[in-house]
Subunit: 338 residues, 3 copies
């Protein structure tokens, strides 16, 4: 499907620079895009490719537009505009609707006539599937769980019982939502299971990456608010609350009952200990563990720096002597004062 640059500007925004009748068919990178492709320039690192680009058009900032050799779509936030244009050019409306002959839908489940239930998917009692929902192959949705309008479970997703998924969710393969939280009471040397009686509530416009797990609450619910984006291989413990528009990178672990504010960003492999609170607008860099509540917006870090192993060995030995070294420094300071 072809669009003119003017049509794209009309539907996605941006100011046209050059010929609005330029035809656009596809997307490319600024280095490799060929005829018919639109590309974007957002990272200044790639500006050097601009003057020789063979793209049909470029999405870029007002400043870069001045040196752009081809037609352009100009925006103060070219990456967001690119995201919109790429969505327009590449989104395919799934024509599928109905229930595949190889899906297993319990007679007490309610499925919208505009939804698609793929082969091998299992829907148990009292499941509710709303309009335009896509349930991919081999997904399992257990008793009493609901999935709201326009959500998409790609394949092999497991939603345990009584979970609520909001509108327009995108849930990737291997995700498990609503497994029991990790709750045990110690009785001598034995651990007694504490029943996990809460559920999981996922808001609207949430994306959840491959093989991520979100546990159900112990008594009240685990809550993921609107617009949250979770990457792959993340662990969200029971009764966690993640605020609106917070974004969490891969391999992060969030322990039980932690509360994370709105518009936070957690870097890859970061951790959050249980029962603490992080206020709105906090950024935690990768591999950092949040060990106590954060009450001030800002950027927080705690990553051991990488070095050659030879130097690391010498320095890491000193870490284990650090308190002693500090005391010896203080002793010297005292002596010199005397």
């Amino acid at each position: 499907m072809e669009h003119t640059l003017a049509e794209i500007a009309k539907r996605c925004g941006g100011k046209i620079h050059g010929d609005g009748n330029t035809l656009i068919r596809c997307i490319g990178t600024i280095q490799h895009a060929g005829p018919g492709a639109i590309t974007f320039l957002s990272n200044p690192h790639y500006r050097r490719y601009l003057t020789n680009t063979r793209a049909a058009a470029v999405i870029l900032s007002p400043t870069d537009a001045e040196i752009c050799p081809v037609p352009a779509l100009v925006s103060e936030n070219p990456y967001v505009l690119y995201a919109r244009v790429a969505t327009l050019l590449t989104s395919t409306v799934s024509a599928s609707r109905g229930i595949d002959a190889d899906a297993k839908v319990n007679p007490k489940a309610k499925v919208s006539a505009t939804a698609w239930i793929g082969p091998g998917a299992v829907l148990e009692e009292d499941v509710m599937i709303s309009d335009h929902v896509f349930i991919g192959p081999n997904c399992v949705i257990q008793n009493g769980t609901s999935v709201a309008e326009g959500s998409r479970l790609v394949a092999n997703v497991t939603l345990c019982h009584d979970v609520q998924i909001g509108k327009r969710a995108l849930i990737h393969p291997g995700v498990v939502i609503g497994a029991d939280g990790f709750g045990f009471a110690r009785d001598g040397e034995v651990w007694v299971k504490v029943p996990q009686l809460g559920s999981v509530i996922i808001g609207d416009d949430v994306e959840i990456g491959a093989n991520t797990s979100i546990d159900r609450g112990a008594l009240e619910d685990t809550v993921i608010d609107n617009g949250v984006k979770l990457d792959n291989q993340i662990q969200v413990g029971h009764n966690v609350h993640i605020g609106e528009h917070t974004i969490v990178a891969g391999c992060v672990g969030i322990s039980g009952s932690a509360r994370i504010g709105r518009r936070c960003m957690l870097g890859g492999s970061a951790g959050v200990v249980g029962h603490i609170e992080i206020c709105d607008d906090v950024t935690v860099t990768g591999m950092t563990v949040v060990t106590h509540s954060i009450h001030e917006p800002g950027v927080y870090s705690g990553l051991m720096p990488m070095d050659t192993s030879a130097r690391w060995r010498k320095n890491s030995v000193r870490i284990r002597q650090l308190d002693e070294l500090a005391r010896r420094l203080i002793t010297i300071e005292k002596k010199m004062k005397d």
Copy 2:
């Protein structure tokens, strides 16, 4: 289903304080519980809610019982008693038994008449499923694997060939048990696969969280002893041995041939390097890597402390100078001595 407080005390333990005929129907939190609900007080942080609780009854310690405004069930370990009461009030006996029409059971598999095999589950040759086992939707159980009495595989669990699961296991979705361990021999620049010929033996009363992986042994078996509790997203390498009643939090990685003792506790995202031994009763705090064997019970840590990024940058630069700084300190000490 309703119970009197007296019935509950009879079945679960605890001493009644107040009216034993109080009717209990459900569970609630101390802040939000309403009529008919029983709640508990274990964490002193929540004591402030006790005097105004609207719960029908509270499970608590002898000390707290004195200021409890409603009937109570008193125990030295109220959290364990709560776990038992909650289990009594909420456990539902699954009436399901038999093999779902959409399960695929090999004729050479043996399935107890009291077990349930859900839709989409695949049981290969020589699988043995004992009494009252629940195999949820889309689970895969490969050749020669056995699951003992009362175990429950929630959904989408994969048990590879020749694995043994003990009694009353609870295995959450996405778990993989018995995939090949990571064994390769280096031949020039190429890695040659070392066949993984051992298996995995899981004891009784083990719980395994969502998306956790436990590899089969290289020559002998990977062993998880009775009463072990594993959280989500854990990686257990080949030939690991985890002792009885050890509990492991989410995202922990345990490398091959590590031996972990009994009653240990590993915090979230901790790691254990291969071929080392951890004795009984060791606690490892979150994000700590156990790099050498531990022979003394106790608590071990190794987490880089979190700070604001501005301060972290300054301090982490110094970590890379630490050995040099220590040497300069020693030089000063010598000079001052002279």
Copy 3:
């Protein structure tokens, strides 16, 4: 199936020491092997078991051969030779070919007559399955994806659309290949999804461990080269490139657009930040984060050392004072100079 030691040497290599007619039936450890078993000695730690071994034969180095009490197969690299012998003695050729009655294969998928498609597997449109491929139970292979000769998907593997898997891949349960990369553009407080238009290209002889996720590229492809070995629970972000014969241990996270060279080794739970480059022949030890490009082969580390919690508490407080302590040391040095 029995083999003589001479037959084994002929097919796998190694020099016979002792009786070449010794019959070998199985594999064992040097401590526990019994009659008919072949074992190996590679790790010097196990040399003490050699003189009393009850194995029928041992694979070992020329030096160890001198003190070996039983027939031996001698090689400069006994572990590699063992890997070959174990493969010979234990590999079972799957007789299965065809499409199980409970598989769901789209009429537009192409499946070789020598491939096996297991029960519950779902193959969508334009999937191509080559000769001798094994697709285990409940795997999902989405539109346009191809799997080359001799590859094996054990069970419950998800390959998203338009992915390419090379020859002789071994992919363990729970693996997800080709889910959307984590790409969002920030528009005020909202994150706008950036369509992920690239794919994943996996070379030949790649092994991928349980519950590992490999994301598709944003515009160009994520590439895993020939001979790469990935352990369990690994996260590979979009547009990552991993060079030939690199080996990655469990729980590693590799962020988007990182390029990792050939013959690298990444230890367990290590991390690689986005958009950086690691040259060939780099080893990164466990739990170390590669925060900047590495241009020199060698070993790199960045692990906070473990200690008792009591000592760790004292030392970790000092880490947060480290820059200040260093400045005080410099002040003293100046004063002493004056």
